[in-house]
Amino acid sequence: MIDLLVQRASTYAADIDNLILLITVITGVWFFLTEFVFFGLLWKFRYQEGKPAQYVTGKEKHLKKWINWPHFLVICCDLIIVVAAVQVWYNVKQDMPEVEKEIRVVGQRWAWSFVHPGADAELGTDDDIKTVGELHIVSNEVYKFNLESRDVMHSFSVPVFRLKQDAIPGRVIQGWFEANAIGQFDIQCAEMCGIGHGIMGAQLFVDTPEEHAAWIAANSN
């Protein structure tokens, strides 16, 4: 459902979208059902001359079952939602698949800076490419990012990846993504970080392997 608004550009984007769709369907059904019953009762039992209200204590069996059954079904739906949500959460945030490339993402007051592994695909070597405001990655490869912040809390958010992780100063937080769509996308900061929080956007370039190799060649000194 979300993909109608924001393109899916990572492997787990579909999982998160389907989870959101599942919740939309379940909660949508319950919502419209409840509103329908609500407005139905308003109409059916509106004030009519000579039709007094009934005396209902709430202990009547035949009425209580109209509450208990929906209540039980709501609990079942909640269980389904919880299981689905925890599954998606585990895949995205807890489980780390085997990693092909690693990058460092550093948030600081009002810009994202990135450290790419460079030609030797090894992070921490001296041929790493540091960029500010631009992240260049190759599609169809599992990237691990080490997220850190230099001053206040920031939040590395890539809507097309359905990726979001806060950067806490003093901590290094890992996460992964695997792009599966070529193009240029937005990176936003999703945690209030002061006066420049609004201008802290960056651009994400998902390249084909050739484009990426050309970019590395152009940028490694």
Binding site: K93, Q94, M96, E148, P169, G170, R171, V172, I173, Q174, G175
Partner: protein, 150 residues
């Protein structure tokens, strides 16, 4: 509350003496606990006795045992929420790494402080972080026995 007035005052004084005794034990215990490096002795005497003293004050001075039951539930719920708060927060504050995250800031701080304690340490004089900057100039004079890092 109990029989005539006189035995009351005596009762409270009796409890007071017990409390002082417990206080003495909770002071001597850790002293020996450190000397012979018996960690459990320090824990039992310092903290165990704190709970006993707390119960004595609650029971005999605040008369909580004769209080209405819902007061007990309210007090216990308050303490229960603090235990719940401790349980929910400690994985992030007490621990310095977990799934996919590591608190490098805290670890660096601990390593630096311990190294500093070691460097300044050795038997006798004890280095410590006076001003928090890197140039920790140890100028502590009161030589105390080396503290066991528990």
């Amino acid at each position: 509350m109990g029989s005539d007035g006189e035995s009351h005052a005596a009762h409270y004084k009796k409890i007071y003496v017990i409390l002082l005794g417990l206080l003495a034990v909770s002071l001597i215990g850790p002293y020996f606990g450190e000397k012979f490096d018996m960690m459990w002795l320090t824990l039992i005497t310092a903290f165990g006795i704190a709970f006993v003293k707390a119960w004595l004050v609650l029971k005999h001075f605040m008369h909580v045992d004769v209080e209405r039951p819902f007061i007990h539930y309210a007090l216990i719920t308050g303490v229960g929420f603090m235990v719940l708060f401790f349980a929910g927060v400690s994985p992030d504050v007490m621990k310095h790494e977990g799934t996919n995250w590591e608190n490098v800031g805290a670890k660096a701080e601990i390593a630096r402080a311990l190294a500093e304690a070691e460097a300044g340490g050795g038997h006798g004089a004890h280095g410590e972080a006076a001003a928090h900057g890197d140039d920790a100039d140890a100028h502590d004079d009161a030589a105390e026995h080396k503290a066991p890092a528990h």
